[in-house]
Subunit: 158 residues, 2 copies
């Protein structure tokens, strides 16, 4: 198994191989505001603040955590820049009816979270995001979710 150079920006600790870092983990906390106060991981703090904003339908606040030059590798392809990212998240936030955090971990500059969402067309649409944070802003996001049930709902709606 090899790790291409392009992924190195996601390394949690500059230099070194297989470096073990002490990070902060929260799995299924009861209130995200408590997490954000207590976590010592800057990247996780940003990830959860961003997550709480968009799951509260506050897209403007959510976008305040997104770097202008964000790069997001999503299932449908790469999005570049905050405008493209907002164009991707905006419609999703509009159909969002609920969410549950499944697990969230982070270290200095990387956070990895998994959550479930409930949307108008799809009752359970879990997703995972691996983000890179710099200066309190999300500069890179790898986004994984299953498009199949959304495709099916679109087809069913004609």
């Amino acid at each position: 198994m090899t790790f291409p150079a392009g992924l190195l920006r996601q390394r949690s600790v500059p230099g070194g191989r297989g470096v073990c870092t002490c990070s902060t983990a929260f799995t299924v906390p009861d209130r995200e505001d408590i997490i954000m106060t207590e976590t010592t991981s800057p990247a996780l703090r940003t990830a959860l603040a961003y997550h709480q904003a968009w799951t509260s339908h506050d897209l403007d606040k959510a976008m305040s955590y997104i770097a202008d030059d964000i790069v997001c590798d999503a299932p449908a392809g790469r999005l570049e820049g905050a405008d493209a990212y907002r164009g991707f998240m905006g419609p999703f936030v509009q159909i969002l009816t609920g969410s549950e955090l499944i697990a969230a971990f982070g270290d200095g500059q990387t956070a990895l979270i998994m959550y479930d969402t409930e949307t108008v067309p799809v009752k359970s649409a879990p997703a995972a995001e691996c983000i890179t944070v710099s200066g309190g802003k999300i500069t890179y996001s790898r986004f994984v979710f299953d498009r199949a049930p959304f495709d099916a709902a679109r087809r069913a709606a004609g």
Copy 2:
């Protein structure tokens, strides 16, 4: 945002709310064997040993980390028991041509990993797994990946 009681089995620290734990994180390490030696998270150790086994096409070794009564919530629905899980992973391992670990975090009993896979029909098929580990075995897995490109490849193949 609320967290149903059913998810509490994934809590990283028994009892307490928003508890901060010191865990081990590895993002894009160069060699997983180094990680497995160094990580202090039992759940992450199991997650990575499992991951290394199946990405090396060693399904028997991979299954040695799977509890007999595993429950796996995958995109197509819930799988219950090791036989069902093997029936799910076996065909996937057969079409696997490469993999890259993107990020991996864990604490006492939960691990969260994201990786990309290269398969015969789909060149980039990233996935994320949130697993619960007990006694060195994976007892629960929440599995997220995009089925859409696999569906498209099947349709294209007629």
